[in-house]
Symmetry: none
Subunit: 323 residues, 2 copies
């Protein structure tokens, strides 16, 4: 008998009786007990809600789940999400997402399905990088390990010293920044928290051993700690931009803590507030003569220092620099 047929037959058998012993199924299909256990496991993995109790047997638990249906807008949102996921997650996540999306599509009404199929070709996400396409299948494994507190054994290629190292880590969370997913984990060797870029993890395996999460920082705590470490007092600075280029600032000025602006005719006086005075100086440098620093004097000095720096750096190679 076909395995597929047998599985459906077992399902039907379970539906006809309140409780069924594994031995009963083994006899009915003349298979071993071991195989029954494996079949039941397969059905469970396929989503059939089978309950089991030692000393009693198998039984089906509420097979009548409420039918879900999705609106057109929900499906469209999921489709858009899928477009992003296609580029921003690895293969394992892509596959699972796709599978879910197909399921959702399948319960839509015919016109909505067509609407969605049309929309599918009218949205596109560009991923500028050529970087090795996220072809790994790590994210789902990591997700499971994080939620179920499994220790992971990873081989990591560090960009810091360009070397591979192997370590056992206790995963704390997944964090996405700088266009990449990062695994935050407690490294048992270094006895500290580490930040692993997922696309630099060469190999990963689940050791099966569990750890106690409560002994570790939560993801939120870790992020707060990182944030606190980089928190410094801010300085208020005043700069004057040529009006012609003010419109190019737009989002960027908020990064440097935009406080307010004052119209000076063909120029605009802008106040900013940031703890990263050096970074600000470098940013202002890129606006060249179109920006003038008024305050503080410290920033002006930093600007001059930078000018000196680039002046030496970009000197004509034919001239001897006396420095």
């Amino acid at each position: 008998m076909n395995r597929l047929d047998r599985l459906t037959a077992i399902l039907i058998h379970l539906q006809t009786k309140r409780v069924v012993r594994a031995q009963e199924l083994a006899d009915r299909f003349s298979i071993s007990l071991r195989t029954v256990y494996r079949d039941v496991r397969s059905l469970e993995e396929a989503g059939v809600p089978i309950g089991a109790e030692a000393g009693v047997g198998y039984f089906l638990t509420d097979y009548h789940l409420p039918p879900v249906s999705f609106t057109n807008a929900e499906a469209s949102a999921l489709l858009l999400a899928g477009k992003l996921i296609e580029k921003w997650a690895d293969k394992s996540i892509r596959t699972e997402f796709e599978s879910a999306l197909y399921k959702i599509k399948s319960v839509l009404k015919q016109p909505d399905q067509e609407h969605l199929n049309e929309l599918d070709e009218l949205m596109h996400v560009s991923r500028p990088e050529i970087r090795q396409p996220y072809s790994d299948t790590l994210l789902t494994t990591i997700q499971r390990a994080i939620a179920q507190q499994y220790i992971l054994d990873i081989i990591y290629h560090s960009s810091y010293n360009d070397a591979e190292s192997r370590r056992e880590v206790e995963p704390v969370g997944l964090y996405h920044y700088s266009m990449a997913w990062h695994l935050i984990a407690y490294c048992r060797i270094r006895q500290d928290y580490r930040d692993f870029r997922v696309d630099r993890i060469r190999e990963l395996s689940d050791t099966g051993q569990q750890f106690a999460r409560h002994e570790r920082l939560s993801l939120q705590q870790y992020l707060n700690q990182i944030k606190a470490r980089f928190d410094r007092p801010s300085a208020v600075v005043t700069v004057v931009f040529e009006k012609a280029i003010v419109r190019h600032l737009h989002e960027q000025k908020y990064i440097w803590g935009f406080l307010g602006e004052e119209d000076l005719g063909d120029r605009v006086r802008i106040q900013l507030s940031t703890p990263y005075i050096d970074g600000l100086a470098r940013w202002l440098l890129s606006y060249g003569k179109f920006v003038t620093v008024e305050e503080p004097e410290l920033l002006v000095e930093k600007m001059r220092a930078l000018v000196n720096e680039v002046r030496h750096h970009y000197r004509q190679p034919t001239l001897i620099d006396v420095d």
Copy 2:
């Protein structure tokens, strides 16, 4: 992938489209055509009413699937997608996505629900830019207009001349690049295709009038055209960064068309490709001595010109610059 899972997935796939070609299934599950034929045969033998027509494909004749249920892995993938969506899409999409995710959660088994709730707090996405948070509710409206070919009436804030303009456009598609969603549309006033950054659309309303898409380029055609137009002037540049700095580049290198990098020990050679050579030069200037331009010579000259510019701009007021 499990054969059992594949068969159900094929069944679901068949429900999402009117006709499905065997090749499509073969591609999706990366199996051979031969295997698709055998799988379809298996489904037919299991009682699924699949119709087949040579030269056309497979289709399902009235079949009602039992209510969908989602696997743990699928739900986890959706959750991860939701984390990205939270930061990369506007409020309308977020709302719809959340609503769908909630429905999906509700049909999960209890342990899976708990698994998901735990995972929810262990994943996080950082959006580095402070830019006005995507609070608009435009994307779903745009999606609907695109798919149903409705003319849109938009008020757009152009960064080019820092002015608002109102126009009627025929939406062609949504395209995501440079960290933002862009509406590609045919502007009826300018009689040409335009690229509107969705977060710069101040107001948007659906006129209710339809247009004929077949008269316009498809999104794919438009993208190809754009690519062709910008492929030529785009210059490939090679720069070498100090390794200590590389991690601060974050997303920015992608804005300048990051192509790839080569490890040089304590430095990293990076290749970029951009048509905006002047902007690139100003950006590179802010990295001072920590970046060295290798190619092209044109860029080196631009850097020197900028250095001269800032040198005059930041000269000591008390000293006379002999130039």
